[in-house]
């Protein structure tokens, strides 16, 4: 039922929040939260790539 309402919302071009009483699904709320997306888009690669990568380099023993 909820899926049908979401589809209806998308097809009419109203997107989230355009249908009044229906609860907005979690994923749509996530995708509409631009600041949270910014946080995730910076934090995830910062941790997985930069911080983890710098830790790898920092653990290389210095030549004697």
């Amino acid at each position: 039922m909820r899926e049908r309402n979401i589809r209806s919302s998308a097809e009419t071009g109203s997107g989230s929040g355009g249908t009044g009483d229906e609860p907005v699904p979690f994923m749509q709320r996530l995708l509409d939260n631009h600041w949270l997306l910014l946080l995730l888009g910076v934090a995830i690669p910062a941790v997985l790539y930069v911080i983890w990568g710098v830790m790898e380099v920092a653990q290389i023993p210095l030549a004697q």
Binding site: G13, H34, G41, P45, Y49, V57
Partner: protein
């Protein structure tokens, strides 16, 4: 609250256009095209030098041109144009005023001063450190300072975009969710923030090192962090040009994404995982564990690849659905045969999609596999790959949308329309040739950065197979073809802006550039909601077969160059 006198209504799209935003879009697009003209000329000289029978430039000039080429086209052209796209996708598509136009001008001036400063440093001849500028090679402090200024300006542009989203939401200029093109631009802006932050982390210390204020920079540390900027900057391109594909399909054909939700999920995959593809540049570095390398490439990167595959289905699928709505329903491919191939905006968009997917996408996944990477790492295969993504993909897509921007934003007719019809094909073929032949030469082992593949002054002689020399000659010819296409683009655009016939309000009827419903489709949330797309499914099947075969061939090749018994 928006001042109504600062808006005009576009007769073609029906969208209100914020005039300060329009001026900024123009300024950033012009700066981008100037950077493209200079960087493209430098690229031609690089290609003609790499053609062994010509070897146009001496070694020092070659590295100077290679450095300038990389910076002008990979950073300055692309990011100037992307800032223009951010302002278009926020202020224009959301029917909003642009946040803080004066601050946006400060950002533009910083970017322009930064680009000029870095170019000045490069042309001085003492900063031929190439785009990557690996330490301990040291450039002039002005080289790093220019890039930092440019990055700060671009960061201002990103936050102007975010602030415009906030204004549009507060002032209720749109309902519900932002349109998909704006969401694609949001993805590009988020990746840009990560990119610029990474650049600041490594380039500010490097500037201090070049001023002798810091004794040394660890080369491996530099590489890890620099690539978070260097490769992620190209991921901004991917997000932006995918948004441009959706934008052109919507404006020219009134096409909506097959499923707005699914396409937004694909962009989310980019936001979360695309940046870490940077790790493929470090796959042969000693000292970094395979855990880090494999997680960041062969595992998490594939989530972003899934996003690209979704777009690869959704964009041609949206075109097919729109064409079928217009009555082109015979067989699997009438929609494709009768697509507007004479419209340079559509032709550039669709060929960019094909080149990006088949050449750039497949080769990127192959390079991202740690084992396969061994057979092409630091060879010409790498620039071959990114010429497929950035030149045949991004640049061609940006050229394509320029054919809409000039009539809609400048209100000028495109001059030399016959030339304009051919331009995307000529430039695209040249760019695809560069990519293919560089990848071919790289597969045969030709080094990525060496001026002379004959190694004429080397103590120990070495020669590549004859086929490698043929590849380099074909690369030179392709470079010439791309340069001709590039010159055509610059001539058409500059002439149209300066001397093109003014586009009156009745031009939307007499000479339309927007398809029926195009303005509504691009600026609203909505889906086609169908998967009855036989032609697109066949095309996607062909893509997967090509993908599988190329992947398999490379494993076969690896087994031959690296025999295990």
């Amino acid at each position: 609250m928006a001042d109504a006198t600062l808006f005009r209504t576009c007769p073609d799209t029906g969208l209100p256009v914020h005039l300060p935003a329009q001026r900024l879009i123009k300024a950033n697009a012009v700066a981008g095209v100037l950077a493209l003209a200079l960087g493209g000329l430098q690229g031609l000289m690089v290609a003609l030098t790499r053609w062994p029978d010509l070897q146009l430039l001496p070694a020092e000039a070659f590295y100077t041109m290679l450095t300038g080429h990389g910076l002008n086209v990979l950073l300055f052209w692309i990011i100037f144009f992307e800032v223009a796209i951010l302002y278009f996708a926020s202020a224009i598509l959301l029917k909003s005023r642009l946040a803080a136009p004066n601050l946006a001008w400060v950002g533009f001036v910083l970017m322009a001063v930064g680009a000029l400063t870095t170019n000045y440093a490069v042309f001085q001849g003492d900063s031929s450190v190439m785009f990557t500028s690996y330490v301990p090679m040291r450039a002039s402090p002005l080289f790093y300072l220019g890039i930092i200024l440019f990055a700060v300006g671009a960061l201002i542009g990103c936050f102007i975009f975010f602030a415009t989203l906030v204004i549009a939401k507060d002032e209720k200029t749109y309902e519900g969710s932002i349109p998909l093109v704006t969401f694609g631009a949001l993805t590009a802006a988020i990746i840009a923030v990560f990119t610029i932050a990474s650049g600041a982390i490594i380039l500010i210390p490097t500037l201090l090192w070049s001023l002798d204020l810091i004794p040394e920079i660890d080369p491996l540390l530099y590489k890890v962090i620099w690539w978070a900027m260097g490769h992620s900057s190209q991921q901004i391109n991917v997000s932006a040009h995918v948004a441009v594909w959706y934008c052109i399909a919507a404006m020219v054909l009134g096409a909506k994404p097959l499923s707005e939700k699914v396409s937004r999920m694909a962009f989310l995959m980019y936001i979360l995982f695309l940046q870490i593809a940077s790790a493929h540049h470090l796959l042969v570095e000693p000292g970094i564990s395979s855990n880090w390398k494999i997680f960041n490439t062969s595992y998490a990167l594939y989530l972003a690849v899934v996003g690209s595959m979704i777009h690869g289905l959704s964009v041609p699928g949206a075109v097919e659905a729109a064409q079928r709505r217009r009555g082109f329903t015979r067989g699997a491919f009438e929609w494709l045969r009768k697509a507007p191939w004479g419209n340079p905006a559509f032709a550039g968009m669709f060929t960019s999609l094909v080149y990006f997917g088949f050449l750039g996408g497949i080769s990127g996944v192959v390079m991202g596999a740690e084992q396969l990477n061994l057979i092409m790492h630091n060879t010409l295969y790498v620039p071959g790959h990114f010429h497929a993504t950035v030149v045949a993909g991004t640049t061609l897509a940006f050229m394509a949308i320029t054919y809409l921007v000039v009539p809609l934003i400048w209100r000028r007719e495109i001059m030399f329309p016959t030339l304009a019809k051919w331009q995307p094909y000529i430039f695209g073929l040249g760019a695809a040739g560069i990519s293919l032949f560089m990848m071919g030469a790289g597969t045969l082992g030709v080094s990525r950065r060496h001026w002379d593949i004959n190694f004429t002054d080397a103590a120990l002689s070495f020669s590549y197979p004859d086929t490698a020399f043929l590849m380099m000659a074909l690369n030179g010819l392709s470079g010439l073809l791309a340069a001709i296409g590039g010159v055509m683009f610059v001539v058409i655009v500059v002439s149209s802006i300066l001397f093109g016939k003014k586009r009156g309000d009745d031009a939307a009827e007499t000479n339309p550039v927007i398809g029926v419903g195009g303005g509504q489709a691009v600026a609203s949330y909505g889906s086609e909601g169908t998967l009855k797309l036989p032609g697109t499914m066949i095309l996607v099947g062909v893509f997967f077969i090509a993908f599988f075969l190329y992947y398999w061939v490379n494993w076969k090749y690896l087994s031959e160059v690296w025999p295990l018994s």
